[in-house]
């Protein structure tokens, strides 16, 4: 099984890498042929969010940490890079390192504070930090973030290969590389000794805590790893879209991540990737579908809901949670662990003799 999975994965990566050379189209789903910049841009964004969803799943699906603030670290990647390049005129490499460093340090600090509490309280603290970040970005006290308007990326110091529509394929390959790197890092860490502790924490934290395991340290490790990966995704995202906007800091965005991993199947690496990819694709393309003639011709009762991608995604999500709790991954892997049972919020039931 593992050999087959590995070969399948490699084959998939190869196929994806070769797409920019293909003149094939998928009408309706994609805006143009695979080789076209528009399509490559779209696919690259889907890949970045797939990687981001996987970085979130490291916390949620693998360690059982329900965080509502993951978007913050993505935003740090986005904004630190943009500010360093556009406002302070740094060279690209130091800018990226700054972003990663910020993500690492910030997540370590925030994680250290948030993880002192558990369950709902933890979720609330992460939400609070994310909200604080969002407020800081929008209110922009230091006059660097561009507030609600956002900030354009100054590309003058970037390598030529990454700039310009004609080089979209290069950024696409960068996004693909990002997804592969995140996949490998998550795979390595979750199958390591630390990863086994994470899985144990997810199942029943009290049980291994009484064995003397310092669950706090392991949770912090998961938190920092996942968050820093998110920052990396943010860096690539900025290169892709050419700027920073405040909507990446909203709690709605983290909730979207939650939807992505559950739709795809939390706790399963390719599930999270698939969820991220599919959600983003749907979100981007349903808008086009909504504006299409077929939908415009429908009676209002159908047209109005269908014209809203988030409505379709929301309903889809509700249906998945109700009837397919393991996400798409559980269709392929029967007996996949459903998201509903895994993360346990603290209840009043105490251990009984």
């Amino acid at each position: 099984m593992r050999r087959a999975q590995l070969l399948g994965g490699v084959a998939l990566v190869v196929v994806l890498a070769l797409l920019p050379f293909s003149a094939l189209t998928v009408p309706g789903v994609l805006p143009g042929a695979f080789a076209s910049p528009g399509t490559l841009q779209l696919l690259a964004i889907c890949l970045v969010f797939a990687a981001l969803a996987l970085s979130y799943d490291l916390l949620f699906g693998f360690t059982g940490l329900l965080s509502f603030g993951h978007a913050l670290y993505f935003a740090v990647g986005v904004y630190a890079t943009t500010i360093a390049l556009s406002v302070w005129h740094w060279a690209p490499v130091p800018a990226v390192l700054l972003a990663l460093g910020c993500g690492l340090v910030l997540s370590a600090l925030a994680g250290a504070v948030s993880l002192r509490v558990r369950g709902i309280a933890f979720a609330m603290v992460t939400l609070a930090f994310a909200q604080a970040g969002s407020v800081l970005v929008v209110q922009d006290p230091l006059r660097v973030t561009g507030g609600e308007q956002g900030l354009g990326l100054n590309v003058s110091r970037l390598p030529d290969a990454l700039v310009g529509v004609v080089n979209t394929r290069n950024v696409y390959w960068l996004a693909l590389a990002l997804a592969v790197v995140v996949y490998l890092v998550v795979g390595l860490t979750t199958t390591s000794a630390a990863g086994h502790v994470w899985a144990a924490i997810r199942e029943n934290e009290q049980r291994i805590a009484v064995l003397g395991v310092r669950t706090y340290t392991f949770k912090l490790l998961a938190f920092v790893t996942g968050s820093t990966l998110a920052t990396l995704c943010g860096v690539v995202y900025v290169l892709l879209v050419g700027g920073a906007t405040a909507d990446v800091t909203t709690p709605e965005f983290t909730l979207a991540l939650l939807v992505m991993v559950v739709l795809g199947g939390s706790g399963v690496r390719w599930g999270a990737l698939l969820g991220g990819f599919a959600y983003t694709l749907l979100d981007q393309r349903l808008g086009a579908l909504a504006g299409s003639d077929t939908v415009a011709a429908l009676p209002a009762v159908a047209r109005v809901p269908l014209s809203q991608p988030l409505f379709i995604l929301g309903v889809l999500f509700v249906l998945v949670v109700l009837f397919l709790p393991g996400g798409v991954a559980s269709l392929v892997r029967p007996g996949g662990r459903p998201a509903g049972k895994r993360v346990r919020l603290p209840t009043r039931k105490r251990a009984r003799a």
Binding site: E203, N204, R352, A353
Partner: protein, 255 residues
């Protein structure tokens, strides 16, 4: 022991052959990957007290919780012959099963009166008079917050509230736990009176109380029934008691 045999029942050599009020058959409970009960089967006699004994952690409380529907289980549980399988907890209670949990679990933020009122099942007139006769102290403490009561008083509240309604069976879990010896005596006295009219399945570590109240004893070990027979006979057999329970029956001391 206590009470007269039920009409029509015959006691032969310590065996009661009337219909049991509760019958467990192959009850299994699995929690978070661990098998807690491995197929527990026993009967509870329709009169008197049946003690459920065993060392710490063998699954005594889990057995009661499983009967109450508070733990998912397989196997069958029958109350007076009627199946309780698949019923939610509140329906099981309404069939006439009263539950007095370990650690009492009175509602600390509510007054004594409110704790009692909650327990009114609403189907018949709540029996406050008999309850206050058994627990005169509670009548003076109606307005007191239950969280400020002593352990013994909380135990009285926990017992009082199940007695407000008609029960076919009472499940009582370690009622004397953590109580001073004098209070233990009071609790035992109350249970003795209660057991005259309602059968009781009693989980208890205090063998003195068991000896005083119980007619039959079921012993668990690691989620299985390892002994089921006359309570007095068990407690009089020191070696057997020590082997099954790890305690000396006379002194109650732990080995």
């Amino acid at each position: 022991m206590t009470g007269a045999p039920v009409t029509g029942a015959r006691e032969t050599g310590g065996e009661v052959t009337a219909e049991p009020v509760l019958r467990l058959s192959d009850v299994q409970v699995r929690i978070a990957g661990s098998q807690i009960l491995h197929g527990v089967s026993f009967d509870v006699a329709p009169t008197g007290v049946t003690a459920l004994l065993g060392r710490n952690g063998v699954g005594k409380t889990t057995t009661l919780l499983a009967v109450m529907g508070l733990r998912p289980r397989t196997g069958s549980v029958r109350l007076d012959g009627e199946s309780l399988d698949g019923l939610p907890t509140h329906r099981i209670v309404r069939r006439g099963v009263g539950y007095v949990p370990e650690d009492r679990e009175v509602f600390a933020g509510l007054t004594v009166a409110e704790n009692l009122r909650l327990a009114e099942r609403g189907t018949a007139e709540p029996r406050y008079d008999p309850v206050f006769e058994l627990f005169p102290d509670l009548r003076t403490r109606l307005r007191q917050q239950a969280g400020t009561l002593s352990g013994g008083q909380q135990q009285m509240v926990a017992l009082a509230r199940v007695l407000l309604a008609e029960n076919r069976l009472l499940l009582v879990d370690e009622p004397t736990k953590g109580l001073a010896p004098q209070v233990v005596g009071e609790v035992a006295r109350v249970l003795e009176r209660v057991a005259e009219t309602v059968p009781v399945l009693l989980v208890e570590q205090n063998l003195g109380v068991v000896g005083r109240l119980a007619r039959r004893a079921v012993v668990l070990n690691q989620g299985r029934v390892v002994h089921d027979g006359d309570a007095t006979a068990l407690l009089e057999d020191g070696a057997l008691t020590r082997r099954l329970l790890g305690v000396s029956a006379e002194t109650g001391a732990r080995k």
